[in-house]
Amino acid sequence: MTRDLPDAAARRDLHLVLGEAVLRFELEPTLALDQFVAALEDGIVMPLLRADILVRVGELAREAGRVELARRSYRTFLADFPRAPRRLMIREALDALTDGSA
């Protein structure tokens, strides 16, 4: 359905709402992961929303065992949000992934 939307902003917003709905209604989390990844690809404008989605993708990918995606998302968060209060938790999550795969 989202692929048929020609407008990137509309596609992004639909991905975000679908992903949010999956999480809020406690459905299969990997469904949400794909929606959030697609939303990031379409371009999220609000920085704090983008920060939240990067954290979400990291967390969901880690839970799903998609280690490389989780790492990439955590690293982008750390690079793009130098003053975020969640940095320590994200760094620890990233370290755990690195240690776990070493």
Partner: protein, 537 residues
Amino acid sequence: MRSIPGKNIVPLFGVALLAACFAITALKVLRHGRADVDSGRTVIRFAHWQLESGLRDALDALAREYEALHPDVRIEQHLVPRRTYVQWVKTRLIGGTATDLIQLGSEIDDETLTRFFVPVSGLVERPNPYNKGTDLAGVPWRDTFVDGLMGNLSYRPNLLEYYGIPMSMFTVRMYYNRDLWRRLFGDAPPPATYEDFLRVCQRVREEAARSGRALIPIAGSRDNAPIFINRLVSSQTQRLTQSIDLGRILRPSSVDIGLGYLRRDWGAASPAFLDGLAIAREVGLSMQPGYEQLRHDDATFYFSQGRALMITSGSWDLPVFRSMVDFELGVFDVPLPDAAHSRYGRNLLGSPSEAGGGGGMAFGITRQSADVDRAADFLQFLTSRSGNATFSRLGGWLPSVVEVEPPDAVKPFLPRLEGYPPGFDLTLRSLGASSNYLIQAYHSVLVQPTGSVEKFLGEVEPKLESAIREDLGRVQRNLRNNVSRQDVTFTGLLAMRRRMPDDDRRAARISGLTEVQNQQEAQLAWITHELARTAGE
């Protein structure tokens, strides 16, 4: 009967006086709209309640510096006492006579913000032009602030918009009377652990009992006690908050906390919440009985008179205390329980970060401003690296901008940037007025010697769900109003886009606005759904 000479003139004099007052008032009101231009100069007015002379002088110096840079602008500083500030702001906003910039306080709720203030979300993503020539030149304005504009006075999560720009960072520390400390503890350093801190309080109580002297460990009041107590409570809800995080963002919002309560993800009987209440009682008992009826000035009086060893307050009070007390002033960071603590350790993630919530003296731009761009430009000047350095140096407050060297005296207040997000506190992370009022109303039952955690819960628990529902209902209304208000702007932008399809800047604005609108509508739908779903439970 003879008439008294001049008797007939008295009523006339009264009428004339009334007419004169009316004429002056009418003239002032009529002139107000035009007063923004003063002999060809644009006038920008800013209002705040910080009457401390250092701050006033610092802002005045910055205003004159700005005028020198922009000779076509005049800056006016309006000082309003804190006690009347809320009424002053409301009257001005409703009367349409507000200043261009207004200091935002916790009493400015989402509804007031959306109705009377201009969101600055777009502006904070662009560099501050007054940082030209520094390493902050290309950095988005948002990232030039120590707290990244994450504080509640800057970013409103329920509205998904930025409104306030902070001049300072506020952190909370314990001030203490060093002279009295030496008499009681010799050369011992300030407490390093929570247990040590409780022992200090106990020792003061023993000394008071032994000597018969009116001496208390901590001077409390309804203004400064909560900021201390909430720090301790939010340490106890760190793990609990993470468990409520359906959205997996590691920092659920106040709406998530409120909905989590309705969903029974947490409740008054949750061990972490009970521990939060227990720790609140523990420290509340170290303050003077009945402190919750007193105001900040009363607590300051206790402390400055040497009747209390310590007082909790923020970095904002340093210049005040330094000018008031005739003893040596010390400052330390209150140690929170650590992970090894036998009771409280289980609830902790770790030492909380002060990075995301401490922006202080934040100004918002009012919709009534005749020149919003100029008001924003002045704000950018105030919070440039050099402007903020002047403010910190002359005002004696912490800077809000990164890598600005603060004066030595405020260094103990520098925020701890490394750490974990705090949990929610007794305001439920400022969910709204109803739950906050309920908790405040029964605060004394929690912290007075005759009270207890059980008695507090006995009063609060039966009413908490209804208070949370009221607050969430208010969030619903604010979201609905905000969406309708933005719809008008949105429609206008879309119409202009149709006429100028190649205008990329406008396209970006439409994209951003669409995102905010859709997020707000999604949040509104979720709150509405959850309120309805949990209504019969």
